[in-house]
C-alpha cells in the first residue's frame, strides 16, 4: 500500500461521494418534504446518463450532449411527478414503495427496448482524457477531477439554493410542516413539482458524469439508488448538509474498503479468497455503518430541526 495509491483512492472516494451527494440531495428533499418513498430516483440517473450518451453520439460533441441532456433530465422529473407521483402522496409508504418499484421495472425495460440491452459507449473527448498532476509525480485523470469540481460546484449551488433563496426557505418550511406552509400561501403543489424536477436534474447530472466512468446500461441506477438511500438515512432524512457529509463518508468507506480490505485480509488469508471476499465485505461495511448509526441515532446524524 503505497502513499500514491492511497491518495489516488482517497480522491476516487471523494469523487464517488460527491456523485452520490448529487443523487442523494434531491432524494433527501423528496423523502423529507413530501414524506414520499421514491425508489425510481435511480432511473432518473439512468435517464440522464442515456440522454447524455446518446446525444453525445448524435452531435459528436460531449459538451453539447451534456448541455441538451440537462433540460431533458429536468423535464423527465417534471413529467414523472405530474403523471404519476402526485397521485401517490397521500398513500402510505408501502404503496409508494410498490408504485415506484413498478416505475423502476418500467424504465429499465423501456430503456432496454429503446437502446438495446448492451451498455452504451460514452467516450470522453480528447480534451478531457488526459492526466493532471495533483502532486508532483502523482497523475490523476482529468475527467475525475472535473467530476469532483462540478460536483462541488453543484453542492455549493444546492446549499445556497436551500439556505439563501426564497425557494429554499419555502422548501425548508415545507419539510418541517407542509400543512402550515400551504396555509401561509405557498403553492405546495408547485413546490413539490419543482423540487422533484430539480432533484431529477441533479440525479441526471450525476448519471452524465458517471457515464464515462462506469457503464451506461439498463438497471445502472439501482445500486446507486440503494447507496444514496443509505446516505440519506445516515445523514438524516430531509437534511441536505447531513446528506453531503454522509455521502462523502459512504463514498470514502466504499472506495477505500474495496482497496484496503483485500490488502488487510491478505495478511491472514489466502490471496485468492481474500481478493474474492474483500469487495463484498467492503460493500457490507456501508450497510454496517448505516445500521450502527441508526441503532445509536435512530433519525440519522443530522436530523433537520422540527
Amino acid at each position: 500500500m503505497t502513499f500514491t495509491l492511497f491518495l489516488e483512492q482517497a480522491f476516487n472516494g471523494f469523487q464517488a461521494g460527491i456523485t452520490l451527494f448529487l443523487i442523494a440531495a434531491g432524494l433527501t428533499l423528496i423523502l423529507g418534504i413530501m414524506d414520499f418513498v421514491f425508489l425510481a430516483h435511480g432511473s432518473q440517473v439512468m435517464i440522464g446518463a442515456y440522454a447524455a450518451a446518446s446525444l453525445t453520439a448524435l452531435t459528436q460533441n460531449f459538451y453539447l450532449g451534456i448541455l441538451f441532456a440537462i433540460p431533458i433530465s429536468f423535464f423527465a422529473g417534471y413529467a414523472l411527478e405530474y403523471l404519476v407521483i402526485r397521485h401517490l402522496y397521500k398513500r402510505d409508504h408501502m404503496e409508494q414503495v410498490l408504485a415506484t418499484f413498478g416505475l423502476i421495472l418500467f424504465f429499465n425495460e423501456a430503456i432496454r427496448v429503446g437502446f438495446g440491452p448492451a451498455a452504451l459507449h460514452s467516450n470522453l473527448p480528447a480534451s478531457l482524457s488526459g492526466f493532471v498532476y495533483i502532486l508532483p509525480e502523482i497523475p490523476y485523470p482529468e475527467f475525475r477531477l472535473l467530476v469532483i469540481l462540478v460536483g462541488f460546484a453543484c453542492a455549493i449551488g444546492i446549499h445556497l439554493l436551500v439556505s439563501r433563496t426564497r425557494l429554499g426557505a419555502t422548501v425548508r418550511a415545507g419539510a418541517s410542516n407542509a400543512a402550515m406552509t400551504a396555509a401561509l400561501g405557498v403553492n405546495i403543489t408547485r413546490l413539490r413539482r419543482l423540487v422533484f424536477a430539480i432533484g431529477a436534474c441533479f440525479a441526471g447530472v450525476a448519471g452524465m458524469m458517471l457515464g464515462p466512468l462506469t457503464s451506461v446500461e439498463p438497471g445502472m441506477g439501482e445500486p446507486l439508488l440503494i447507496l444514496s438511500l443509505v446516505v440519506i438515512i445516515i445523514g438524516g432524512i430531509g437534511s441536505v448538509r447531513g446528506a453531503f457529509i454522509a455521502a462523502i463518508i459512504v463514498g470514502m468507506v466504499d472506495t477505500m474498503g474495496r482497496v484496503m480490505l483485500p490488502v488487510i485480509l491478505r495478511s491472514f488469508m489466502e490471496q485468492a479468497s481474500a481478493d474474492g471476499a474483500g469487495p463484498a465485505l467492503a460493500s457490507m461495511m456501508v450497510y454496517i455503518l448505516m445500521a450502527v448509526v441508526l441503532v445509536f441515532k435512530p433519525t440519522g446524524l443530522f436530523p433537520p430541526n422540527r
Binding site: R91, E95, N108, R112, G276, A280, M284, L294, V295, P298
Partner: protein, 331 residues
C-alpha cells in the same frame, strides 16, 4: 348491528377463501396428472412457497403495520441453511428445517430488536440495509459458492423421497397448511388482536399498560421463521441456492404479492402469489401474441400494472372478490 354481521361474514369468507385455496392446491395435481402438464406442478410449488413467505411477511406488514423491506433475507437464510448443511454432509430435511427455524428465529430477534428502534421510513430502510448486508455476506462466502451460488441435492425426509413425483409437492402443501392454521390461530388470538391494535394506535396500546415492542418483536420473529421455512423448501425444490435468492427485488416481490392479494388478510398473500406467478407466466406469452419482438420485455407492461394496482386496486384481489360476492348477495 349490520356492521357486526358484515364483519363476521367477511371474516368467515376470508377463511373460506383460504380453505378453498388449500383444497384447490391439494386437488391440483389430479388436474395436471390427467392433462399431462407436469410443468404446472412446479409452478404450483413456487406459488405455494412464495405465498407462504408472503403470508409470513403479511403478519408484520399487514397485521402489525411494520413495513419490512428486507424479508427476502430470511427467505435466503432459510435457503442457505440447506446449502450449508449439505456442504457439511447433512442431508436430513428435518434437520435442515430445524436449523433454518432456529437461525431465522435468532436473526429475527437480532435484526428485529435493532430495527424496531426506528419507525416509518427509517424502519423500511434499516430492514433493507440488513438484507443487503446479508446479501453481500453470502456473496463474499467463497466456501458456499460466493456470487455463483451452489447446487444442492434435495433433502432426505426419512421415507419420503423428494425425487419421486409429487412427494415434494405434498410436503410443501402440508407445510402451507400448517403455516395457514398457525397464522389463523395467531391472528384471532389475543396476541393478534393486540398486534392490530398496535398498528392502528401504538400509544393507546402503551397507555393500556402493554409493551408494544414485545408484541412487535414476537410477530417479527414468527414472520422471519415462516419466511425461513419457505426458503428452506424453496432451496430443496430448486436444488440450487445463490445470493440472488435474497436480492432486494425479492423483498419487493413479496410486498407486491401481498398488496396484489389483499393486505392484512389471511388468504390474500396466497391469492396474490397465484396472480403474480400467473402474470409472470402469461404476460410474456400475451405480448408474444401481440408484438412478438417484445416478448422478452414483458416488464414494460408489468411495471405500469403494478402502479395501476396501487392506484386503483384498494383491498387487493380478495377485496375485489368480497365486493363481487356482496353485490351478488345484495341483489
Amino acid at each position: 348491528m349490520t356492521r357486526f354481521f358484515s364483519l363476521i361474514g367477511r371474516g368467515l369468507l376470508q377463511h373460506r377463501a383460504m380453505m378453498y385455496l388449500l383444497v384447490g392446491f391439494a386437488l391440483f395435481p389430479l388436474y395436471t396428472g390427467f392433462a399431462d402438464l407436469p410443468f404446472w406442478n412446479d409452478v404450483a410449488i413456487r406459488i405455494m412457497l412464495l405465498g407462504m413467505a408472503a403470508m409470513g411477511l403479511n403478519l408484520v406488514l399487514g397485521y402489525g403495520g411494520m413495513v419490512s423491506f428486507g424479508h427476502a433475507a430470511f427467505f435466503g437464510i432459510g435457503a442457505y441453511c440447506v446449502g450449508i448443511s449439505s456442504y457439511y454432509d447433512i442431508f436430513n430435511g428435518w434437520i435442515h428445517i430445524g436449523f433454518s427455524l432456529v437461525t431465522c428465529g435468532l436473526m429475527g430477534v437480532i435484526i428485529g430488536l435493532l430495527s424496531l428502534r426506528t419507525s416509518g421510513i427509517y424502519f423500511i430502510m434499516i430492514t433493507l440495509a440488513f438484507a443487503q448486508m446479508l446479501f453481500f455476506a453470502f456473496v463474499s462466502l467463497e466456501t458456499f459458492g460466493g456470487d455463483d451460488g451452489m447446487s444442492i441435492d434435495r433433502a432426505e425426509f426419512g421415507l419420503i423421497d423428494l425425487y419421486e413425483p409429487l412427494r415434494l409437492y405434498f410436503l410443501v402443501w402440508a407445510a402451507l397448511v400448517i403455516v395457514s392454521l398457525l397464522l389463523m390461530f395467531i391472528v384471532h388470538s389475543r396476541f393478534g388482536v393486540t398486534l392490530r391494535a398496535i398498528k392502528s394506535n401504538e400509544s393507546r396500546v402503551e397507555a393500556m399498560g402493554l409493551t408494544p415492542l414485545k408484541f412487535k418483536i414476537t410477530a417479527y420473529v414468527i414472520s422471519a421463521m415462516i419466511c425461513g421455512l419457505a426458503g428452506t423448501l424453496f432451496a430443496s425444490w430448486q436444488e440450487y441456492v445463490s445470493p440472488d435468492i435474497m436480492h432486494w427485488t425479492r423483498s419487493g416481490e413479496l410486498m407486491i404479492i401481498i398488496i396484489l392479494g389483499g393486505l392484512g388478510t389471511l388468504a390474500g398473500p396466497l391469492l396474490g402469489a397465484i396472480a403474480f406467478l400467473l402474470l409472470e407466466e402469461f404476460l410474456p406469452e400475451l405480448i408474444q401474441a401481440i408484438a412478438p419482438d417484445y416478448a422478452e420485455n414483458w416488464m414494460i407492461v408489468f411495471g405500469p400494472i403494478l402502479i395501476a394496482i396501487v392506484m386503483f386496486g384498494r383491498g387487493g384481489l380478495l377485496g375485489l372478490l368480497i365486493k363481487l360476492f356482496q353485490r351478488k348477495g345484495a341483489s
